[in-house]
Symmetry: C2
Subunit: 218 residues, 2 copies
Amino acid sequence: MEIKVIKNILEANEVIASQNKRLFEDKGVYVVNLMGSPGAGKTTLLEKTVKHLIDKKRIAVIEGDIATSRDAEKIAAHGVPTLQINTGGACHLDGNMVRGGLKEFNFENIDLLFVENVGNLVCPAEFRIGEDDKVMIISATEGDDKPLKYPLMFQVSSLLLLNKVDLLPYIDFDLERFRNDAIRVNPRLEILTISCRTGEGLDNWYRWLEEKINRKRD
Amino acid sequence: MEIKVIKNILEANEVIASQNKRLFEDKGVYVVNLMGSPGAGKTTLLEKTVKHLIDKKRIAVIEGDIATSRDAEKIAAHGVPTLQINTGGACHLDGNMVRGGLKEFNFENIDLLFVENVGNLVCPAEFRIGEDDKVMIISATEGDDKPLKYPLMFQVSSLLLLNKVDLLPYIDFDLERFRNDAIRVNPRLEILTISCRTGEGLDNWYRWLEEKINRKRD
């Protein structure tokens, strides 16, 4: 019985997510759904990315949080249209929550919609919101065993950003094992190593993102 | 409508959790529900705790994971009765999943049942399993802003273990801000700082746990 309920929720979500996606297609907006555990570095990555791209691309941001609008305030301070969605306890954004916020933006003037999901390595992976790509960020301090233990998020993501690689000298983390397990779970997964703190590797991420945006507008 | 469904699931869970709790009370078993994000250090803490207590207390372990039985294998290697519950995608353990596993143990011979929940800072907080105490573990690398952003888990926990404090010199983490925010969210929350890697602070945790076990058996 419980499984049936969950299935219906997921099916209803698919319908709404497809409607969102059609709107984004019409307007030529490239949409990223950024997912990862609490503290993986989602907001810091977003801030750095906004700063880097703001003169080149027209950006809008949706911040998903259970409570507080701290992250949205941080991002809005950079001068991009930002919407906070407080889920009020729910552990992920879904298509309907995102749809409810879309009227806040004028998508004629936007190249990139960046959606930061609720911090959670599990549930957000199950709910499409109409995105072009799911990008996951995981910090090296979370451990190298995560691809096999939390496979779904690795399976549904296009790109995996391994963050906090500046801490690798101080922790036990087998980068080769991590890479191999991630690729085993999702052979099409691209992987970039970064440190939002030192800036290492961020150029590769910016390049990846700009290519996606440019391809969408062509 | 969706909210109603979720409410019914939560109510049904409460009934089963209370039944589990009654069984644990009858047998004098102290039950910990250990929660935290992926990579916070749950399994490492559990391994260290089992090693430390195994000559003094009779321990059983339930390992909750989405997939794989890696953690259960690690724990069982220490010679304690261990049950793996694979949730098959679900982001938390609930009362019913735990109930299904209870017949695997002979609780006449157990002082402590240690339940390691699925790695997730959100959903496990909503589901009682019949535990005496919820204990949350968070690693300093997750950031000092978590109490206000993920308040529920802080609210429902009796004890907060701040792990990986050996990394504090290499990261930006305001310990005082973290403590103050955590206490603001839950004034009754006890907080211990530990490092599973260096062993720092673990004695305080062992003492806390042993007192709880002894009080339950009196």
